[in-house]
Symmetry: C2
Amino acid sequence: MFAIIMAGGIGARFWPASREHLPKQFLAITGDRTMLEETLARAERFAPPNKISVVVGRIHAELTKRILAGKPVDVLIEPRGRNTAACIGLAALHAKRVAARGVTEDEPMAVLPADHFIADVESFARTIRAAAEVARDGAIVTLGVTPNRPETGYGYIHTGAESGESLEQPVFRVKRFVEKPDYQTALGYLSSGDYLWNSGIFVFTARTILDEIKACMPALHEGLMEIERAIDTPDYEAAVERVYDRIESVSIDYGVMERTSKPIYVFKADFGWSDVGSWQALYELRGSECDEHGNLSLGDSMPSGAMIVDAKRNLVFSNTERKVALLGVEDLVVVDTPDVVMVARLDRSQDVKRFPESLKT
Amino acid sequence: MFAIIMAGGIGARFWPASREHLPKQFLAITGDRTMLEETLARAERFAPPNKISVVVGRIHAELTKRILAGKPVDVLIEPRGRNTAACIGLAALHAKRVAARGVTEDEPMAVLPADHFIADVESFARTIRAAAEVARDGAIVTLGVTPNRPETGYGYIHTGAESGESLEQPVFRVKRFVEKPDYQTALGYLSSGDYLWNSGIFVFTARTILDEIKACMPALHEGLMEIERAIDTPDYEAAVERVYDRIESVSIDYGVMERTSKPIYVFKADFGWSDVGSWQALYELRGSECDEHGNLSLGDSMPSGAMIVDAKRNLVFSNTERKVALLGVEDLVVVDTPDVVMVARLDRSQDVKRFPESLKT
């Protein structure tokens, strides 16, 4: 099967470690490798390297090629970010092309955001394989995460009855995709037990998703066809540029999932999933690596960690050679980079994006 | 009159801005100039430049000469720190020598620590001149600060009856110098109204202090005489080295003031004095420069200050070109230097010296 890694995100949530030129998927925050490399390693469990595509923005193309040097994966370049519908459509065109070279044209493709954390990668691969079996027959399949808090930062999937099994994993019908709720609504979703978080991970064939884009987003489909005609011609880059210049920026959730008349199926993602949406989420994710006072030092230049006196429950991230010293402080995130040092309350870390926003204005 | 600026301190209290090679007196923390330069500017109000000596440790000699380039002041070099008694004794030898070149041999000399802050420099100069009038007759004179809190970090001066006036300023007899008290004792001193903080500022003639060193610290006096014989000979540096190698490290307070049988007089230092003993003390000293939320940005590379979102009552000091960003934090001191960034609770800032101590062990 195919794997499409969407690495086009421009994350500001790990500022100042993440920047426009170095978003989260290019940071080694969840382990020793960048999140992109970890995503690729997961994809290699179910897809051969020549069926893996990484979709990135042009400004990250060089960085991506450097990180993936020696890997025979395809790097597809978007001239600018146009959200997930365009990204997935572009990847589907290329999957069709590779498939045409010999295999079946209707192989499933798993769409994977490059900046998610997954704890149990073996269980993850099993779920993707089970989803692929369902997708192979032309269905749209998604993965949903059982909520453990009334999160207002995610979309939700309203789940219907169990409709069977695939590779011993239960499959549910999707009643509806719903957008990020307010807090009261999220509380209701959580207590009903009928809702899952939308993980952003999908499995379908290229044919299926291109058909659905044609049905739900005809303008995008027309653009994709223009690009397809230019594949393997000297006009390819100019065609992508022209099309990306005029198409709307729409997510696959809103553009297709909320509109399609096709049935959608969902598997429960029970493999330990996090979109690592903030410094606080990262701190919680790697909590087991804290010292006895709850302090966590991350970053590749800090083999000996921070200097700590009477400090508790702090996250220190550094990508410099400098020492970070903490005295008496609690519940902070301290991020040290070559040109910015940030000190924030961990429970305010979802607001760090206000700094790059304020620098733009 | 003479002025002796004692710049030999090796401060760790402003770590990581202050280091062994760059102690507090060489930092521009109380204003745009280094504390040494501010001390020199105060001394120039009552002493001609050729009667001002700056005493520094050898490791700071080059830095001192660079800072004072173009000033015709004497820089006296100690091979290593041996506390204030030796420092003052050495300076007195040189004052005698300069005095011998034409002026009277019994001119008063004011001894000034190089790392104190003084708010009203005109009032300071008036007090020094008044003290000099008393010292000219051979007395030991000191300046005491009216306490406003039960400080346990200073020595105290037990003050007796008013014994007269000098230049319209009241003079008091000193009953006793006492060392740093415990908290209960300090509370008693504060409420009694009979105690002043020992500012470390003294005025006496070279003859007086050398006589008292002879009486109270004969070993030091013998060493000073050995150095005096070598002045203006090729053996001078070696003589200082030999003597500093063997003498004890004793403060003038303990070595002379607590032992002398001579009467000591004290003037009240009503000119706004601080020894700027911690980052917190600095924050309080410069409180009027805070923004509306109590945040204070200091350091010569931060013309536009820190980037602040919902943060209150923080001190940011930087001697780098980097930006410091604060989000949601309160009552912190953040110090950014080329090789260390420190984040501490302001009210724990007296403990920052534990970092350089831990680096030594």
